[in-house]
Amino acid sequence: MAFLSNFINGLSLGSIYAIIALGYTMVYGIAKMLNFAHGDVIMVGAYVSFVSIYSLGTPPILALLISMCVCTILGVVIERLAYRPLRSAASLAVLITAIGVSYLLQNVALLIWTSNTKVFPSIVSIGSLRIGSLTVTGETIVSIITCIVIMIGLTTFTAKTKTGKAMRAVSENRQAAELMGISVNRTISVTFAIGSALAAVAGVLYCSMYPVLVPTTGSIPGIKAFTAAVLGGIGSIPGTLVGGLLLGIIEIFGRAYISQDLSDAIVFAVLIIILLVKPNGLLGKKVTEKV
């Protein structure tokens, strides 16, 4: 039973990683940049819903919506002010700017909410599920279901809608897409909006599971989710799901069966081994080199 229980915990942690990783993957696929500030958007999302539950007394679901709105706006504003002027700059310049934005968000959060640890209330009101000796918490169920819904929704969105098709076109070939009359800037803004809204969801779910909220809360799940995105093949939505779930399961199993202290090292070691065998990630597209 312990095995099954660990497996389910791994799945639920993995679902959260997958939701965060979607933000990385979409932005990478479309804007070809590593958005290091994504982890801190998670933190902002968690703080906003914390404030709206405690100070405004809103019900949890409304708090989630508010934080999604705030994060969406934040994501679009960051893109507009910090990343768009660098569209044609070297990728390293964009990376450093993203790191700057990450520091900025952390320090603004530090000024507003101080470094005192906030205990995040769980937004999940459904109780635990008991099957025999196996207990599945409400948070676990909700995060797995949310992840499935988001994955199906996003896959349909990119496959069917006009904006979704535009996103795929831009990620395939930016110049050709522009020539076909697609507004690249608008598409990238939409991508950031979706990614940041998902980050808010992930932030709330993550903090419901690990209820410790400080201004650096976002950085560890951010790095892990980034790893998950690379593991699955960055730029691919199904790959993100696979990578996220795998990472969550490895982390929980590593913690339970190998060593509590070395779980992060195990996660990263698996990443390295997989990248050695499949250099573009599990489901990543193979890029042929042209001379």
């Binding site: 450093i96 790191i99 700057g100 934005v101 690379v230 960055i234 992060d264 990263f268």
Partner: protein, 351 residues
């Protein structure tokens, strides 16, 4: 004066000379206790970060591969340096000799790890390479965090889990870090090490290997087709870069009474990367200046305390935006032309 005629050597000599002059002045100011306390406390970290930035510049600027785990090599150097000093301290009485031995051991250990890590890392490309260096940095940090080493008359004892019964006295005690038995770093050591590292990098970049590596950076396919062994050259640059980060780690460790593995985290790697990028990729002079400014800046802003890192972040973003602004780039080019024209006129007037 053949050296003076080549433009790169001339630039290198100017850089080296200005570093020597500035450092000598600072050295004597420090001897005469004319520096503020906070600044004189920053002197060794400045040297450490100059070496870190120079060595990372070799990977990022010259080799053209993004590395996000440079602090990992620094920590390997730091911890092996501490081990070396504690275990060899009884045999080597002379502190300078001991420090040299420790720096060499730290550098060699980091080079060995650089080689081992380089085998998988250098097979990958671009962002995948970056994430794997990040992963290695985190693994090194995590493993050092669980490392327990003690010393007694029989030698060193190592364990990898907490609560292990080890004989003797702890040198490295898991998450609590390593105890540094002797305070061996000072500005003089840092000064010499900076000069040595600069000489090594300048020579390396200027050598046959350096040219090959730059060719590989600019066009790997073309470089391979003229018969350059890409992996071998990349590996040389990566190992040298790791070795120098290890030396910087020894210098860093010997400046404190204890070091912890978590000090060498992702943020440390990133702040070194910021120095390299702000200073200009591949520019040694730029790395040195950026390392000095970015190490001193947070100290200067201490008065603003709460806003310190906020200002740092805003400055970072603004500098990046300004640097990539086409109008500003144009302005830089015209300004440079005007300045050189002014100097030319002066020289002509003298004649």
């Amino acid at each position: 004066m053949r050296l003076w005629k080549s433009k790169t050597s001339r630039q290198n000599i100017i850089t080296l000379a200005s570093v020597v002059v500035v450092f000598t002045v600072v050295f004597f100011l420090n001897q005469g206790r004319m520096l503020s306390r906070s600044l004189s406390g920053q002197l060794v970290p400045i040297c450490v970060y100059i070496i870190m930035a120079l060595s990372l510049n070799l990977t990022v600027g010259i080799l053209g591969e993004l590395s996000l785990g440079h602090a990992g090599f620094m920590s390997i150097g730091a911890f092996s340096g501490v081990l070396a000093v504690t275990s060899l301290g009884q045999y080597i009485g002379n502190p300078i000799l001991l420090m040299i031995v420790a720096i060499l051991i730290g550098g060699v250990m980091a080079a060995i790890f650089g080689f081992l890590i380089g085998i998988p890392v250098l097979r990958l490309r671009g962002d995948y390479l970056a994430i794997v260096t990040l992963a290695f940095g985190e693994i090194i940090k995590n493993v050092l965090n669980c490392l327990y080493v003690t010393i007694d008359a029989d030698g060193l004892h190592v364990a990898m889990f907490s609560g292990a019964k080890l004989p003797g006295e702890f040198i490295i005690n898991g998450p609590q870090g390593a105890k540094v038995s002797q305070h061996l770093s000072n500005f003089g050591t840092g000064f010499v090490l900076v000069i040595v590292v600069m000489l090594i990098i300048m020579n390396f970049v200027h050598s046959k290997e350096g040219r090959a590596i730059k060719a590989i950076r600019d066009n790997p396919i073309a470089a391979e087709s003229v018969g350059l062994n890409i992996t071998s050259y990349k590996m040389r640059a990566f190992v040298i870069s790791a070795a120098m980060a290890g030396m910087a780690g020894v210098l860093f460790a010997m400046n404190y009474s204890a070091i912890e593995a978590k000090k060498f985290n992702f943020n440390t790697s990133i702040s070194v990367l910021v120095m390299v990028v702000l200073g200009g990729m591949g520019s040694l002079r730029g790395s040195i200046v950026a390392a000095i400014v970015l190490t001193v800046l947070p100290e200067l802003l201490r008065g603003f305390d709460d806003y310190r890192m906020l200002i740092y972040a805003i400055v970072l973003i603004l500098v990046m935006l300004l640097n990539s602004n086409p109008r500003f780039q144009q302005f830089k080019i015209t300004a440079k032309k005007k300045v050189t024209a002014m100097f030319r006129k002066k020289e002509a007037a003298k004649k």
